[in-house]
Amino acid sequence: MSTPVYAVENLVIDLYTPTVSVRAVDGASFHVSPGETLAIVGESGSGKTVMTLGPLGLMPEGVAVDLRGTARADGRDILTLSPAELSALRGGFFGVIFQDPMSALNPMLKIGPQLARQAQLYAGLSPEAARKEGVSLLARSGIPDPEDRYDRYPHELSGGMLQRAMIALALAARPRVLIADEPTTALDATVQAQILALIRTIQKEDGIAVVLITHDIGAVSVLADRVIVLYAGQIAEEGSAIDVLTAPVHPYTRGLLASVPDFRSESATGTKEIPGIPPNQAQLMPGCRFADRCDRVLPACHSHRPRLQTIATGEVPHRVACPVVIAAEGIATHD
């Protein structure tokens, strides 16, 4: 396994609005290497978006953010960068694809110029060359008739086409890490697969590291090499996609997988939903944050915060933060 291009250690993110403060991410670590896809899975509000976009400074306006830990991009800790340095890194080193391409592209500007300008900025191209590059980026993203689409406004294209354009935009500056924040959630089911395939193709061709933020287990199984399951700002389980998807250990991961109708079982009969709602992160509890919803809960879960324990070593260690299941099922640990 090659060295990580982006590595985050012990990340803690506190969010402050005028009325509440929330620990959105609580001591999470992750890394991605070139050519690799890391999926960060969790329910909405689990902190997966904050965890990935927070260090890049991409947070909702009106929210004050406090970040601790380290986030090394190519060895440089981006949490210590000045706003100007960070903003240079955002276009060049990181590319980002957002959930809803309809609103993520500027409705008042034509699509082509939105990405040509990007190519122009980062590759130092002339306006004519930038247009050419823009068209070829659109073509590469699988947009038919790119010359025509170049001069269209976002409202003139379908959601799938716009997400392709968004991908073209994210790739315009030839990033090393592509962060895809629920890239298929807003799209039709048939289009979702195409977009995932496109991301996969581009990743293979360019050797880009991909961080896929999603709650779609289907997308994880298609794209991910490794998986991190996030619950209420803490990592519940992590490991290779195969390990986590086929041999989940954490009760939350199991619940999450059981709630997916089309995964593993063809029928929806086995579908279960996890009872309860995610905890209010404004009121932190000392113990396991999943305790209130967990079917394996013990009294100690409410008072002791579980540590991530390695249950399988190897190229990608499988780590789980649930001593209860590990003990009950006699799973061997390696640390």
């Binding site: 609005t17 005028p18 400074g57 947070m59 909702p60 306006e61 009106g62 004050a64």
Partner: protein, 299 residues
């Protein structure tokens, strides 16, 4: 309303209190001329000096507050009542009547209110209207120029409320039209209209002063700021204070009502304005600013 900035009410309240207690605050009769003390500067007997007829400026300013306040309240109440009645009626009754009333409202809104008020004052200048004093011509003209906005707003609220399921429920339960209107719909209409009116008060004070400035509103010797200002213009080189003092008083009052309007606009703050970027570790105040700005846009 828990974190509502009540302090914002203070300046407007001061104006209202000065207007109400004007007779107690005045040191002189604001209309009394004193040819022995014409255009005199500030002194112990005349705190803000005197005007070209030797009238006490301080007392005239205080008196002007009362004049503005009374005229403003009368016009605002009248316009509000007419607007709410016509607008609610149009919205509630629907059909052709509504269409006709909407057309009238639209025509009334085609011209700026003050232009309509001016035109009406022009109409009232005819012989047929000579039984009315200038003051009442102004009051009536402003009222007729001002109601349409309230009518349009009221109608919109009524139409929206009528679509609420609870209205249907009340109707099914056999509630009368009057009951439904007064119990369920009117409170919503008044809620919005009163908030709008509190911000509109400033515009109205300004309109009264503008008409008086143009010589078409409050006539001398009744003290009125716009009219005092235009009087002072003739002596601008001798004593600019005659212009500056009423001008500042007027501006202060309008600012205080506009502040009120901004504060009210904040009430409708959407819960969170999402997306975008904030420089890291920026103070939480920025959130308030965002919310404030977002609502002002709609105001």
């Amino acid at each position: 309303m828990k974190s509502w900035p009540w302090a914002i009410l203070t300046p407007a309240l001061i104006f209202v209190l000065i207007g109400i207690f004007a007779p107690l605050l005045m040191t002189h009769d604001p209309t009394k001329q004193d040819y022995s003390a014409i255009l005199s500067p500030s002194s112990w007997s005349h705190w803000l000096g005197t005007d070209y007829l030797g009238r006490d400026m301080y007392s005239r300013i205080i008196g002007g507050a009362r004049t503005s306040l009374v005229a403003m309240v009368v016009v605002l109440l009248a316009a509000l009542i007419i607007g709410v009645v016509i607008g609610s009626f149009a919205g509630y009754i629907g059909g052709r009547t509504e269409l006709v009333l909407i057309s009238i409202i639209d025509i009334a809104l085609a011209l700026p209110s003050l232009i309509i008020a001016l035109a009406l004052i022009g109409v009232f200048s005819g012989e047929a209207w000579s039984w009315m004093s200038d003051y009442w011509k102004m009051i009536i003209a402003l009222t007729l120029a001002w109601w349409a906005n309230y009518a349009r707003m009221s109608r919109a609220v009524v139409v929206a409320e009528l679509q609420q399921p609870y209205i249907e429920a009340a109707r099914v339960m056999g509630a009368s039209h009057m009951w439904i209107f007064t119990r369920h719909i009117l409170p919503h209409v008044l809620g919005l209209v009163v908030v709008y009116a509190s911000a509109d008060a400033g515009a109205l004070v300004l309109a009264i002063a503008t008409l008086s400035f143009l010589g078409l509103g409050v006539a001398p010797p009744t003290p009125e700021w716009g009219q005092m200002l235009v009087d002072g213009m003739s002596y601008i080189e001798d004593n600019p204070a005659l212009v500056i003092i009423p001008g500042l008083a007027l501006t202060a009052v309008v600012v205080s009502f506009n502040l009120l309007g901004e504060a009210f606009a904040l009430q409708k703050v959407p819960k969170a304005v999402r997306g975008g970027l904030l420089r890291r570790k920026k103070s939480a105040r920025a959130g308030e600013e965002t919310a404030r700005a977002a609502t002002e846009a709609k105001a």
